[in-house]
Every structure is written in C-alpha cells, then in structure tokens.
Amino acid sequence: MVGLVVVSHSRGLAVAAVQLAVEMVHDGRPPIEVAAGLDESTLGTDATAIASAIDRADAGDGVVVLMDLGSAVLSAELALEMVAAPERVVLCPAPLVEGLAAAVVSAASGAGRSEVAAEAAAALEAKATHLAPAASPSDVAPSEGGGQVASGVVAVSNPHGLHARPAARLVGEARRFDARVEIRNRSTGSGWVPAGSLSRVSTLGVLRGQEIEVRASGAQAREAVDGLVALARRGFDEAFVDGGQTARAPGLAVAGQTAAGASGLPDAPPDIARGQTAAGAPGLLVARADISEISERGRGRALAASAGVGIGPAWIPGAGSSAASLGDISEISGQDAGGEWPRVEAAVEATRLEISQVRASAAPGQADVFEAHLLLLEDADLLDDIRARIDRGVAAPRAVHDAADRVAREFEALADPYLKGRAADVRAVGEQVVRHLLGLERTHLDGDGVLVAADLTPADVVGLDRERVTGVLLAGGSPTAHAAILARGRQIPMVVGAGAAVLGVAPGTTIALDGGTGEFAIAPGDGALAEFRARETERAVRRRRADALAQDPAVTRNGATIAVGANVGSIEDARAAAAHGADLAGLVRTEFLFLDRDEAPTVDEQVATYRSIGAAIGRPIVLRTLDVGGDKPLRYAPGPPEQNPFLGVRGLRHSLAHPGLFRDQLEAIVRAARHTPVTVMFPMVTGVAELIAARRLLDEAGARDGLEVGIMVEVPAAALKIATFRPYVDFVSIGTNDLAQYTLAAERGNPAVPADALDPAVLRLIDRVCRDAGVPVTVCGELAADEAAVPVLTALGVAELSVTPAAVPLVKQAVRTAGDDSVAWALDLPDAAAVRRRLVSG
C-alpha cells in the first residue's frame, strides 16, 4: 500500500489533519507518518525529519507527500536528496487537508502512488466546483511581453486522454520551437512540467475532457503555444472513434508515423485474423517478415537474440496455446455489456494471480519483467479502452485483444527502442487475459527440439524446459524484447525476426540455428547439419580454452601484445570484466550515472562511483565523459529541439553546451584520478577546437600532468582530420558502431539498412587513423568483439581492443591467432560482405 507523509509547520495541525482524514476509512488504513514542527510547539519544518518519515512510510509501494506551505515544500524537496528510494516518492501539490483525505481513501483502496497523488490533487476541484460554477474554458491567453511569454488553455478530447502516443506527439511538437514550453493539467491543478519531456508529461495523467494549460517563454513562445493548442484541437493527430463516427484527424499521415500508422488504424476491421499466420502472428509481423530471406536450400539469416547452437525437430505450439486461440475470437459474439465487464474483471484477476506465480518462480533479476506486467493490468488507459469497447457491444475477448493491440501499437510508434520493445509485453498480457476469458488452460510450452513460434511471451520463456528445448526460432520478436533477454539469461539459443515463412514448417522437420549469428537452417542436409554440430562443439571447446587463458595477456603470432579491455556501464560490469580477464576498462560509459534522474549526480557521487569501478576491476579505467544527445535528453540539462538528434548536440558537443555539468564531471574525474589509475576520453569529437575547449576546462578542473587524454573517433570528419588532433591527445579510441553508422548512413537498430563496420569504407577510416594519429589507437565498438575482424584490426595497427566483458576471453584468443599479414586487399573490396567472404575463405 502507498504510504503517506504529512509535512506541516505545525505538529498540531498535521495530527489533526490526519485525524480528520482517517475517519474516512475503517480498515486497511495506509501507513501515515507526520513530519511537522520542530517540536510540539515550535513552528517549522525539518528536512531530515521528513526524510525519515518518508523512509518509515515506504513499505515498498512508494510514498505520496502532502505539504502545507513555504518551507514545507523546500524542506520536502531537500528531503528527497536524503531518502533511500527517491524514485518512489511523489511530492503532491494538493491542498493539505482536502488532499490528505482524498489520498487516504485512494491509498486504502490499493491505488498506485501516481493515482493517489492525482486523487489528492483533484480534491481541490470538488471544493472549487461547489463554490463557483466551473469557469468556461478560456481561449488562448493574450500575449504578454511582446510575444516573449505566451500561454493558452485547451481541452483534451482524445478518448483516453493524453496517453502515450498523443503525449509523444505533444513532446515532439513542443521541442520544435525555440522556446521554453511547460504544460500542466489545469483540471487537476497539477504543477508545471516541461512539455519536452515525455516522462514528465505522462505524469500529468490528463484524461479526456480535462484541460491542459500551456505556457512558453522565449523567441518562439507564441508559435509554440499556438502550435500545441492547434495540435490538441486536432486530437493530437490521433484517429479515434468519437460518438460512433470515425474521426480521422487531419495530418495523420505525416512522416514519423510508423507501425501504427502504416499497418492499420487502431480500429482495424474485424478480419485482421486473416492477416495472421497459423500461430497468430500480429499484423505487424508481416511487414517485418522480409528482413530475413530463406534460400532454396532452407538456410536463412535473421537476428541473433541468444547465443548458442540449437538443433532438433521443429515443434509448433498447437491449438489451445495462447497465440493460436486468438484467431477464433472474432467469431465469438458478445453477451450483454453488463455481463461482459465482470468477466473481464475476473479474467484480469486470474491473470494477476498467474503472473504473480510466474514471478515467484523467476530467477532474481528476471522478476522485474513480471512486475511490469502486473502494472499493465492496472493501466487505466487499457482498462478504460476495454470497457469502452464492451459498451459498444464488442465481445470481451475481442475487446481485450483489440485494446491491447492498440496500446501495443502506440508503443511501437515511439522512437525509443526500449519503449518499442514494451509492445510485446502489452500483447503478452492481453493474450493471457483473453486466454482466461476463453477458459483455456495455461499451456506450458511443452515439447522437444526447436520451438518455432510467431513470438513468445516472457512467461513462455521462463516456462520452457531447458532440458528439452534445444533452441527457439521466432518469426517475429526482437533481440531487445524481454523474451530475448530472458532467453539469454537462461542460455537458450534464440533467433528472432525470421519471417512468417518459418511458421509453415511441418512439425518434426529438423531445424538448426545459431543464436550467436542469427543463422538458421530448415531441414538441413547432412553437410549443413554437421556444420552446425561442429560449430556447437567447436564453440564449446573454444570457449573452454579461451576461459582457461583469459587472465593471460593477448600476444599476436608476431609478438605484439594487444591490450584487451572491457566496455563497462556499471560496477557490476567492472566485476564481470575482472572475472573475464580484461586488461583494463577500455571504455567506461558514465551515462549510467546521469540518466533517469531529476538532478545531475553530485561531484562526490561521481568520484565515489568512478573509484568503485576502478576498485572492482583492479585495472586502469578509461572514463568517457557523458555521451548523451537529444534522443535521450537529461531532465536537468535540456537542449533546444532537434530534427535529428543523432546529427545534433550530443557527446562532447552536449557537454560543452552544458558547462556546469561538464565542469562537475571533469572535476570528479580529476579527483578520482588522484586515487585510481584513470584516463579521460571525450566522445563524438568533430574538430580540434572542441577538444581544445574541453582540455581547457579539464585544466581548470585541476588536472595534473600525467592525466592522459583521448578522444573517441566516431565522426568520419575526425578520422579524416586525425593528424590535427595529434598535439592534444595521448590516445584515440575508435567507436566503430557510430563510425559505421555515420559513414554508411545506416542506423544500427534498423535491420533494413545493415551497418556492418567491416565495410571497406570504415576500414579505410580506421587505416587512416592508425597511420596518422601518432598515438596508440584503440577500437571499442562491436567490431572489436567480432573474432573475424580482430586480425584485420591488429594488422591495421590497432593497439588495444575494448569489448563487452563476456567477450574478452574469445577476443584474446582471436588476437593470439592474428599474424602480420597485410590486409590492404580489404580496403579495395566493394562491401563488408566481400570482406567477410575473403576472411572465411582465407
């Protein structure tokens, strides 16, 4: 249950307010703590007292804090810096007495903390409505200060309010303008949040019919407010059914609409089942199916999701499985709406129980996935949608399926790959509810050999019998989906995105797959089968051998020692790196300290973390300064809107644009360097002027002589001008992931445009850097972990490789096989595929 904390200047006032509020609940009263007054009689607030009250009230579900005025608010904000789990605390702007009463009732009913806070904030509304007729929605407020400040109010008409997709549109629009734009939920009296932050906008919980208020300052303040008001009036370009008529808002077909726009409207016709394959692949899959092609010999290459070779007879989950059942739901007619909703509630409850059981059996670290599933079952947007469909006469199973599908599509339409991956979770939960509605037992996917399916839910993967399932081949899915993450954790080989054609395979057909490369073979001949078997054996043998030699240095056949480091993004990684024999932490991604929080880490926190990483690995560490950009803006360091963040203010450009943040980090690095062997490296450098500016700040931060400085070469321009950097660097590190993306104009996450860093164009840039840098060259992208590429890199003159911790032993082995053969031939080949062919054929 969510806990409550009452902060007041007066202890008497707080105690009385609590007394009044708890009269409204009779049992199951939430934990309520009081932090009020300096003592019984002295008025005042005390941040340390508030912090301990919050910690006492937090039983795990978080805390909503209600405050009186002035220093109560400031002290509560300061207290957030002192509590154990600040992310679970909501400071609620509600008026104390009314808000507390509403919060107690809401928390006692088991609501989540944002809901409790929203209920509390809305409590003023009741009083306001009672005392005066609601003000009519005012139109755009008049401009103040000659267009420098502007504001406006508009009602949200979307059926589910400002949920994920419209919120994403709003954020995108807000960021287009040269203005500081904020919005708030006027109807609930919420606080202001930056309109450019999706997570913050989502916290407003704007429902249909509520009003949002927009205010802006800056050069384009007026335009920004007008733009957002117009967007809201267009229903955020969302197509929705309103009053029985489909309102297709103008502007829907604008660029940037992805899955949801392209593959069908949310209210797709009832025959979408036709578009589904035997195992019920969702419509989206069909569009993705072509990324892998299956040759006539039954070989194909799709996306590698979980390493390892799997060979066995195909088994395809039959009728009764969750996926297959969905094909039938359009044929079930609805009962009266009054009867359908309780059925849904019962099915949701049954699903909740089932997920809780699965969660209990999941390994530590895997339970989070199911926590997220449980939250989805409480999602108001989803539940309201189901209810609305039922009210329109749709049968419950269909309503659940369609509503889940709509929400999933919204996730798919988002740019953030992580959020995209959550679509699968929504569908998984939807299917579970449907299964309970149809009275189908939960099928344990039970069979021997290679499981072939459209997609799997995380629960499916957890339920697989590792002894019997040799591998998983999915028509759809994604390497970033939870199902794939869990498969990696359970070491079940998995290939995903293989296309709908694999679902046509007859059960029992032999399938071989390599989850490390994405290769698979259907009914392979003896030769191919032997190849996969040999690969499996060879991999196991090589792995054992590599592990045995992991702690030894990696020396090429001609005697050059190549340092093999690890890329590290957490203290955990640093420990893994030490265990796998990394010679250093060749790349410490410091972003992990900065993302997903409301304030920058303090210098002290940074120093402590950098030192902990150094201590965990026990080797030198290369700290890369903050590498973020407009695609993942920091809440406390927002930048101007950008059309294309990957070509915008990111990496060192971002740091130079936020000197306060940058100075802090440099100071932390300098201080860490007093105790820990540290070098510093700047990401996304384009020209030498940026580096000089950064070095000046580093000097100001008190850098001592001997602190080595390097740059990341990720921009082709930096590679081509590498000689100009010479006087200012002690080493350079080539980030082949970004260098390949920028050189080949191909985004790495987009399977339609492969960005293989072994492309001769990228190799030429690496060659140039190795020749002209005049200092040691490191490679720290995925190419460094590509065993086939290692001899090419060492031959070009790369002195150090840095790879994911688990890959260190095998990369060291690859170094040991490398000689000094020239690789000049590679630079003249047409593409990466040609280079790979030549490497394989020797």
């Binding site: 607030t45 340390t48 400031l74």
Partner: protein, 211 residues
C-alpha cells in the same frame, strides 16, 4: 601559498556568521515582520546557535565535514524556508570542497558558486525576486571576477562584500515574487529583504574571518 584558508579559518567564518546573526537577530526579525512572518531572525539565530553547539561538542576533521554538519544542523533546526535554503548552500559547499584540507581563492569561488546554484535550485527564484539571491549572486560573481583577475584573496572578498551590500540595497524597491512576502505583492516594495540581509552577513563574515 599564503592565499589559502584552512579548517581553522573556515571554522572561524561559521562562528563569525553565527555572531553576526545573533547580534542582528532583532533587526532581521523586524525586516521580516514588514514583509513576512517575522521569524527570520529567530529562526536563523536558533539554527546558528545549534551549529555552534555541535561544533563545540566535537570539532570537525576537515572542511567538508564542517560544512556538512553546519548544513544538516540548519536543515533540522531553522524551521522556516531559510533552513532548506542555507542548508542546501552549506551541503553543496561540503560536496564541492571534497577531501581538500586547504582552499585557495579558486576553490572558495567554486564552492560559493555551488552554494549559489544550490540555493537557486532549491528556491527556484531568479534575480529580482527580492530574495537572498539578489545579494548572494552579485557577491559570488564579484568574487569570481576578482580571483580571475589575480587579486589577492582579501581584496577579492572585499569586492564580494561590496557587491552583496549593493545587491542587498537593491532589494528595497523590489516587489517580492517568492515566499511569504509574495502574498503582499506591491506592498512588499520599500522594505529591505531579510534573506538578502542575512546572506550579506555570511559574506561579510568571510571577509573578516578568512584572511
């Protein structure tokens, strides 16, 4: 280098600030009664007295500890908005000085800049809102400029005090936009801001006790 300050000097600074607050507590309360809730002098005096008591009971081992104890004590004893504001300022100073035993002019400027940023972040005020910021901001800027020009620390601190005093005077005609005083609106004009006044004592104490 002669131009550094150590723990003893910094300890002197805190005690001198406490003394100035004690000496002027009626004046601060009077200023606050004109535009606020008449508690600034009492609150700050209660807080700084508690700070001195904790310093007496156990001497801090290094500057970061001195500032941390000062900040935490203010946070839990002042009671009013000055508690979290001054508390944050001292906690940020503590974080900024790190392990240092001695501070030079640069360190001091950096430390006070961090304190200022902490106050801005906590109070969300901007210059001209008639708050402590209107004296503290100019003081930090003057200190930074003087240090950057290579002035000796004593002169740099003098420049800071002058800037704080000027800033404090400028709060008189301002209309309050933050805190309890903002409820008065235009009526708050014509009175000197108590927060700007107490923070000027903080800067003045530095100038007389650090060098």
């Amino acid at each position: 280098m002669a131009d550094t300050v150590d723990l003893t000097a910094l300890d002197r600074w805190i005690r001198e600030f406490a003394r100035l607050i004690a000496e002027h507590k009626e004046m601060l309360t009077e200023l606050d009664s004109a535009i606020g809730d008449a508690d600034h002098g009492i609150n700050m005096h209660r807080g700084m007295t508690a700070v001195v008591t904790t310093l007496e009971s156990e001497s801090p081992g290094r500057p970061s500890e001195l500032f941390k104890r000062t900040g935490m004590t203010l946070v839990s004893t002042v009671g009013g908005a000055s508690g979290p504001l001054y508390g944050t300022a001292f906690l940020r100073m503590s974080a900024t000085v790190g392990d240092a035993e001695e501070l030079d002019g640069n360190d001091l400027a950096k430390m006070l800049r961090a304190a200022l940023e902490g106050v801005v972040q906590r109070g969300k005020a901007v210059p001209g809102d008639k708050t402590m910021l209107d004296a503290f901001g100019p003081a930090v800027e003057a200190l930074e400029a003087a240090i950057a020009d290579g002035e000796p620390l004593a002169r740099a601190l003098d420049a800071a005090v002058r800037a704080a005093e000027e800033g404090r005077a400028k709060t008189i005609p301002m209309v309050a936009r933050k805190g309890r005083a903002s409820y008065l609106g235009e009526r708050s004009a014509g009175h000197q801001d108590p927060g700007a006044t107490s923070v000027t004592f903080l800067v003045a104490a530095a100038a007389t006790s650090l060098v």
